[in-house]
């Protein structure tokens, strides 16, 4: 793997990348706890139909659609201290941009969702009020994968994490470091 140029001392970069990594673990824990709960317990998010338009238990689910855009925003603020994570023209990292935009979309969909459920109580994944949730989350996941892999790949390159043994995984890390995990033209 080609060594990327270092603009800050290696030890500083490792510490900063790990701080980003810790924020990502905290957000992952938040998202997993909220979403896993909704799968295991039907009373939290009725599987196919609500018992009423007003369902306080849904607030639990909504909380992470507010926490995640704010958390990724915090990552974006701290991210500026790590030169390797800069995006095109020294802007925000493209993966991070996608993640924040995706979760912002889900955050604003909470209102749409509540208004829709005032009249219709079905909780089918494909009903129109859920479209922006679904699309937002998918866009956010794509961006987050590109960003998180890039952070991890840099930690591997700096010797702070163990490299992947699978050559396909190693190739993915290499592409991520070059900012080409998804596109060769948009870094």
């Amino acid at each position: 793997m080609a060594q990327m140029p270092a603009l800050i001392p290696k030890e500083v970069e490792i510490q900063r990348l790990k701080k980003i990594w810790l924020i990502v673990i905290a957000m992952g824990s938040t998202a997993a706890s909220v979403e896993v709960d909704n799968f295991v317990d039907g009373s939290l998010h009725q599987t196919s139909i609500r018992d009423s338009a007003f369902t306080p238990a849904h607030w639990w689910l909504y909380s992470h659609f507010v926490a995640l855009p704010l958390g990724w925003g915090a990552v974006a603020i701290y991210d500026r201290r790590v030169p390797i994570l800069r995006g095109p023209n020294n802007s925000m990292n493209t993966g991070l941009k996608m993640t924040i935009l995706g979760y912002l979309a889900t955050m604003f969909t909470i209102g749409v969702n509540e208004m829709w459920h005032f009249w219709f109580v079905e909780e089918i994944f494909a009903v129109p009020n859920h479209w922006m949730f679904n699309m937002g989350v998918v866009v956010a996941f794509m961006g987050a994968l590109a960003y998180v892999v890039r952070v991890y790949a840099r930690l591997v390159e700096l010797g702070a994490e163990t490299p992947g043994e699978n050559p396909y995984v190693a190739e993915m890390y290499k592409m991520a470091l070059e900012g080409k995990l998804y596109s060769r033209s948009i870094p």
Partner: protein
């Protein structure tokens, strides 16, 4: 190496270890206490959230559901806590297995007791 404004010796020499320490600030391996307090706060907030559900909205969120959710949430949060401490201390000489064990054990026992004795 070019350092940010305010760091380094202004061209008189290289990067000193004091500059590196200033740029790092608090090291991740010294954040175990902060992570532990955050985990306990998250666990208490989880209890508060589920309790608000079964005390104020029992028609939407019955107590057994609240306890079930509380147990699952605690497990997921505990995994996140363990990962956070392990990531922050890997590669250093710090070892906080005792603290992690006591914290996880304490919240596990607390979760069982709350599920047995608290509810609507």
């Amino acid at each position: 190496m070019t350092l940010p404004k305010g760091f380094g010796s202004g061209g008189a020499g290289g990067t000193g270890s004091a500059d590196v320490e200033r740029m790092i600030g608090r090291r991740v391996e010294n954040m175990t206490g902060l992570i532990t307090i955050s985990y306990i706060a998250a666990w208490l907030a989880t209890f508060g959230g589920t309790a608000a559900g079964y005390y104020y909205y029992p028609w939407a969120y019955p107590t057994p559901s609240g306890h079930y959710a509380f147990i699952v949430l605690t497990i997921v949060e505990a995994i996140g806590y363990l990962f956070s401490v392990k990531v922050s201390e890997e590669g250093s000489t710090k070892k906080s297995n005792g603290l992690v064990g006591v914290t996880l054990g304490g919240t596990a026992i607390g979760t069982v007791l709350i599920s047995l004795f608290v509810g609507n």
